[in-house]
Structure formats: structure tokens, C-alpha cells
């Protein structure tokens, strides 16, 4: 029964589309606590370095979030197929981090592209914390 309730809660939180960045941070905070007992909150500094740190992917390309999103998240980025990407920082683009399903979709894709693995809830929260703090 408890599992069923948990499942319903999870389904509800995934399907609840409208959100605020703060609500998303709370959700990722709860997940991060489950992933690690040592979780001690999110850090904008860690998020900033996560955003810019380049790594060599298995195809030999140097990649980071900022490869496409540029080093300044207030600026529009550009996809590899030459299409403009709206800025990542909510200060420049208030639509960011207001749709939980969209946020999960893009973490799902881009973590696998850049890191070639899924991101942890800690990393997702740090990332959002950094972008929310950009003024």
C-alpha cells in the first residue's frame, strides 16, 4: 500500500507540469537525500563549475554544457545543428525550470551526451541552483 502511494506520488510529481525553480530544487533535494545520506544541500558554485567543465567524450570531442549554451547562461546558445537555444538562466528566460517533465527530458538527453551517463540529483540541483542565482 505504501509503495502504491509512493508510486502515485511520483507519477503525480512527474505529470504536474507547471512548477517553479524552487519547487524543482525541493524535488531534487528529496531525491538527492535518498541517493546519499551525506547530502548537504545544493551549491551554486559546484553548479557553475559543472556547467563549464569540459571532458573528452568517447568520440574525442571536448564537451561541456557551455559548448552549446555558451559560458554565459544569460546568452542564447546554439545547437550543433545551428539552431538558436534560448538562454538557460531564468533572469534572461523566465520559462526555464517551470516544467518538470521538460527539465527531466533535457537532463536525460544532455547528461548522456556530455557525461555519457545519467546525472545525479545532486548534480541537477547544483546546476539549477547556479542558474537561478545568476543575476
Amino acid at each position: 500500500m505504501r509503495n502504491t502511494l509512493l508510486l502515485f506520488g511520483l507519477l503525480f510529481s512527474i505529470s504536474a507540469l507547471a512548477a517553479t525553480p524552487q519547487e524543482l530544487l525541493q524535488q531534487y533535494g528529496a531525491q538527492a537525500k535518498q541517493e546519499s545520506a551525506a547530502f548537504a544541500g545544493f551549491s551554486a558554485d559546484r553548479g557553475a563549475s559543472f556547467f563549464r567543465t569540459e571532458r573528452a567524450d568517447s568520440g574525442g570531442r571536448q564537451v561541456s554544457c557551455s559548448t552549446c549554451h555558451t559560458a554565459d547562461p544569460r546568452n542564447p546558445g546554439k545547437t550543433r545543428a545551428n539552431k538558436a537555444i534560448e538562454p538557460m538562466a531564468p533572469i534572461a528566460n523566465p520559462q526555464r525550470f517551470t516544467d518538470a517533465a521538460k527539465v527531466e527530458k533535457w537532463f536525460g538527453r544532455n547528461c548522456k551526451d556530455v557525461l555519457e551517463r545519467a546525472c545525479t540529483a545532486q548534480e541537477k540541483g547544483d546546476f539549477i541552483q547556479y542558474l537561478v542565482n545568476v543575476k
Partner: protein, 171 residues
């Protein structure tokens, strides 16, 4: 047969042939442009990273192969949840080049060997023949990017309008 009956028959056959011509010739539809198509998920999901490609630019077998490999989509992860993926697949199939009655789609299909299912429109013989006067350096211009950016020169590309007289190649 009486003279007036012959005359009536003649009038009837001439006018029906005329109607056939005006409607675009029935089976061998000679409409040059791809017809307008619409699907909200296709539009939203298939144009976040690149221009929106009209489904009539590739045959069903190509779309099927492409939609089965979205997690490795031209070197990027473009995975979709299953219901969205399936809806877009059905839309692409229903409006694929083999299903649409227009000259461009038909010629694209004819240019693809029976045993091939190209994922890039620019790999079809139809495309290369149509662009044989465009140099590789033109495709690489910053304002163009690559041959996959149709809309750089064909401003109506996302609507399926590739008319030659509307082509503007940016500097």
C-alpha cells in the same frame, strides 16, 4: 449513332479530360510542392535542435529507422517518451514521401535504391543532383552551417516549399 449523340459524347469526353487536367492529373499528381501537414508533437519535438523537416522528404522506411534510433540521433541523444515517439512515428509514416502525392516526394523515393533507407535527406541522389551546382564551401558558410540547414536558402522549407525561384543563398 445519331449525329447529336456523337456530339454530346464528344463534349462530355473533352470536358472530363479538361477537369482531370485542372485537378492535377489524378494518379500522377503534378503538384510540385509538398502539401501542408501539421502535428503539434512533431513540431515541438522535431524542431528544438534543428529545422523542422517535412515528412514528405523521406520514405517510410527511413522514418522508421530514424525513430527507432533516437538515442543515437546523428551523434546526439534525442530520446522521447514512448507515447510521444509513437505518435510522431505514426504522423511521419502517414505523411512520408511514399504516401504523399506530389512530384518532389515521388522523385525522392525514386532516387533511393530499394535496399537503402537513408537517414539524411542530403544523402539521397535526388538531393545531390538538385544541389550539384552548390559548392562544399557554400554549404560550410557560417550563415548556412551544413547541407542539413535547408531553411538557410529555402526560406519556406519548414512549410515544405522548396520552389527554385524563391531560393536565396546567404553570403
Amino acid at each position: 449513332m445519331k449525329k447529336w449523340m456523337q456530339f454530346l459524347l464528344l463534349v462530355a469526353s473533352v470536358s472530363s479530360a479538361g477537369a482531370l487536367l485542372a485537378s492535377g492529373g489524378g494518379e500522377e499528381g503534378d503538384s510540385r510542392q509538398l502539401p501542408p501537414v501539421a502535428n503539434a508533437k512533431w513540431k515541438a519535438e522535431c524542431s528544438s535542435c534543428h529545422m523542422l523537416y517535412h515528412p514528405g522528404l523521406l520514405p517510410e522506411k527511413s522514418w522508421q529507422k530514424l525513430m527507432a534510433g533516437l538515442d543515437r540521433h546523428f551523434g546526439e541523444n534525442a530520446a522521447l517518451d514512448a507515447p510521444t515517439r509513437d505518435e510522431i512515428s505514426r504522423f511521419l509514416t502517414a505523411n512520408s514521401a511514399d504516401k504523399l502525392d506530389n512530384r518532389r516526394s515521388r522523385r525522392i523515393v525514386q532516387s533511393i535504391p530499394a535496399d537503402a533507407a537513408p537517414l539524411r535527406i542530403s544523402e539521397t541522389a535526388y538531393f545531390t543532383a538538385k544541389h550539384d551546382e552548390i559548392s562544399a564551401t557554400t554549404f560550410k558558410r557560417k550563415s548556412v552551417g551544413s547541407a542539413s540547414n535547408c531553411a538557410a536558402c529555402h526560406q519556406g522549407a519548414e512549410r515544405g516549399d522548396f520552389s527554385e525561384n524563391k531560393v536565396r543563398i546567404p553570403r
